[in-house]
């Protein structure tokens, strides 16, 4: 490797040029814009519901009491504002993909690495968190189906988890590990979730949550809301930080931007529709849950929603349905989130900011197998040994930071390249991005100091890796177009044949 001749600051600020934009993006007229508002809304709802609502209450309600309802709305507003900024960013940058790609093409390599650090939390750690939540519902389902038989306490909880009364200390969360391994095997085989399956999953999730709300309302007790904000206003922000975890994925709407019909109209409609559905369902579930069960009782519950149904109805039938729905839909959420993580690492490997093994495709399965295995190992370790609330906090802080970067990115891009064609522009610029930064910033500000330290340390590790390794191996070093080319002899002899673009 030759020593780079460019200065450090130039390295840190260099941006990935757009390669093959006409093919990847909607710049050529041939690309079919086929996605309408309904389907786009389904993307948003499908990516969002299920990441958190099934198990976030047990961590959020003890923080803020009944005022957690307000926290849901606060988190929803912040996520919605950020999603709108995402949509402009995605439409202005002619690359498709994650925040990492947007940041690399607009804000430079150094920021991109920081964003990548956040995304590893948003996808990798949230996969672990979701898997832990899945294991709770699986255990609940087993217990309901087999007359109280449960997996032993030692293998369904992390060693540092709080121990509820009558339970033994956990050693390892085995079901979560099994789930992660299953998803990894599916991804290695090249399995994917189709648009139809996504819609079915949305129906299952909304169905079981609606069922929960209806049954829980039968035991509604307004007295449970008497002491509405027992810990004051600041606690509402803290709870919003925990809850924010359940809003990640709303940005999925924006990533589909270049295939959306009439994006300037469709995009905000879909984002707002998805946001209203998601926030509405969450608030409904939260109100129903707190109405049915005193807020003091949420602490330390597992598979909380199913537990509430048990207490309300006095029978296990309904909670079995809910647990089954949760087990099916959380499985799909884990698959999709883990897939996202492998593809982000793939992009980084391709850009030379990670070792090239991350961008290697296995000839047999035609999937990035090494990459998937590494993700599976790291995520299983997190899922096996780290308690759920710690994971959730880390996901929230990473996601909020990434959202802020995007919102600032929108402003920077408007100032630096005002004439850039944008398929979608944020309404009420510059108020929207500024509000997005403020809303996300407020929630960030309320998070625990130890979350901040853990997050700061993590970002520093990633940046240190960049300074010591990444900047020397970046694909931009050759002064090229950002694609790693190997000078294998006779390469030009090999023809690449692709089907015509208008093929179905």
């Amino acid at each position: 490797m030759t020593t780079p001749t460019v200065s450090l600051s130039e390295q840190m600020l260099r941006r990935r040029p757009v390669v093959g934009a006409a093919v990847a993006h909607g710049a050529d007229a041939g690309l079919k814009r086929t996605i309408g508002t309904f389907q786009l809304t389904m993307f948003g709802v499908g990516a969002t519901v299920g990441t958190g609502i099934f198990f976030v209450l047990q961590d959020a309600v003890p923080v803020a009491g009944p005022s957690v309802v307000v926290s849901f709305i606060l988190a929803g507003i912040a996520a919605g504002l950020a999603a709108i900024c995402y949509a402009e960013m995605a439409s202005a940058v002619p690359v498709s993909g994650s925040t990492y790609s947007y940041a690399y093409t607009t804000l430079g390599e150094f920021v991109a690495m920081g964003v990548a650090a956040c995304l590893l939390l948003e996808y990798g750690v949230s996969t672990a968190a979701v898997a832990v939540g899945w294991s709770q519902y699986l255990n609940k389902l087993l217990s309901n189906l087999f007359n109280g038989w449960q997996l032993p306490d030692q293998i369904v909880a992390a060693p540092w988890d709080e121990v509820a009364e009558g339970h033994a200390q956990g050693w390892i969360n085995l079901p979560a590990v099994v789930l992660v391994v299953l998803c990894a095997l599916l991804l290695i085989r090249g399995a994917s979730e189709s648009a139809l399956v996504n819609t079915v999953m949305v129906c299952i999730k909304l169905g079981v949550l609606g069922l929960f709300a209806i049954i829980a309302f039968t035991a509604f007790n307004a007295d449970h809301f008497a002491n509405f904000a027992p810990f004051g206003v600041a606690a509402i922000g803290s709870a919003a930080g925990v809850i924010f975890f359940s809003f990640i994925g709303l940005d999925a709407v924006s990533t589909a931007g270049d295939e959306v019909k009439d994006p300037q109209k469709t995009m905000p409609r879909a984002i707002i529709a998805a946001l209203l559905i998601v926030t509405g369902v969450y608030v409904l579930v939260a109100v129903a849950a707190i109405g049915a069960q005193k807020w003091e009782m949420f602490d330390g519950q597992s598979a909380g929603l199913a537990q509430i149904l048990d207490d309300v109805t006095g029978a296990t039938w309904w909670s079995t349905v809910l647990a089954a729905g949760a087990v099916i839909s959380i499985f799909s959420v884990t698959l999709v989130t883990m897939y996202g993580q492998t593809r982000i690492l793939f992009a980084m490997g391709r850009d030379g900011l990670l070792p090239s093994m991350f961008a290697k495709v296995n000839p047999k399965s035609m999937t990035p197998v090494n990459n998937t295995i590494i993700v599976a190992i790291v995520v299983s370790l997190l899922a096996a040994f780290v308690p759920l609330d710690k994971l959730i906090d880390m996901v929230s802080i990473g996601t909020l930071t990434a959202f802020i970067v995007v919102s600032i990115g929108v402003i920077i891009l408007r100032v630096r390249e005002p004439d850039l064609p944008r398929g979608f522009k944020v309404p009420l610029y510059p108020i929207t991005p500024v509000l997005s930064v403020l809303a996300c910033g407020y929630i960030l500000y309320s998070l625990h100091w130890y979350t901040w330290i853990a997050f700061g340390a993590w970002v520093l590790v990633v940046w240190a890796f960049y300074l010591l390794w990444g900047r020397k191996h970046s694909a931009l070093n050759d002064g090229g177009d950002g694609v790693i080319t190997t000078a294998a002899p006779g390469l030009e002899d090999v023809e690449i044949v692709s089907p015509p673009k208008d093929a179905p």
Binding site: V23, G190, I344, A359, M366, P368, G490, E495
Partner: protein, 293 residues
Amino acid sequence: MTVVVGFLAGKAGISALHLGVEAARTLKTSLSVVTVVPKPWTTVSLARIDAEYAQYADRIAADSAAQGLECVTKLDPTLEVSFHKYAHRSAPGGLLDAVEELKAEALVLGSASDGSLGQVVVGSTADRLLHSSPVPLAICPRGYRGSKSHGLTRLTAAYPGTEESRHVVERVAAQAARLEVPMRVITFAVRGRTMYPPEVGLHAEDSLLSAWASQAREALAKLKSDGIVGDDVELQVVTGNGWDQALDAAEWEDGELLAIGTSPQGAIARVFLGSKGTKIVRHSPVPVLVLPN
């Protein structure tokens, strides 16, 4: 040495005979048309209860031979052709016996009749042989009627890009040199399906595909630089959204034969078709030659 064609009158048509005649001519050897008939009851019985059944078996063999002879004579009157009847409990079993006894160089089968014309349809007989044949197995598309040039015009090897499958290319190259036909090596790159909801964009698989295509390109270039194939061999990476699209994009010539190797996990020196190979066979518009491992 001979080329064995599995043929049964009234089943799967005469396309296998067309390919068999071409194969025998290309390999400059004889053709053996084999009909597997049901095995009659061998227990001695005074009432000869099975006589009618045995007659029926003889009749279908005779019918097949007559129909086969007519067809082969029309195609190539000079070809040395023989007809054989094998009584066996199963069609694949009978064909395997024939391959062993007649010392076949290759086995030729037709497509099953329940698929679209022009596509290779693997029937139950072919399916079992694709996992057990000790000799190369050729299957023609449904309704195959030979090439206009009445012979092989090009040999294409499908190469998955792995180290362990380089020997397949080597063998196909040797065969192409022996038969003096041009050769082509293709690596198919098929795009993974889009994951919904699209958390990292709808085009994540596109970048994966382009990475795989450039990786495959290097592997192909290496075949040439390592001297496994000659300089005149055409090398191609063919991409597509699915196997059907990729196989269509590959531009086939009249009289072309697609050769694929089989998975190493099968028994030694047997054909054992893997999952990717099955997809290639099913979508091929030209006859496919499946080589034993």
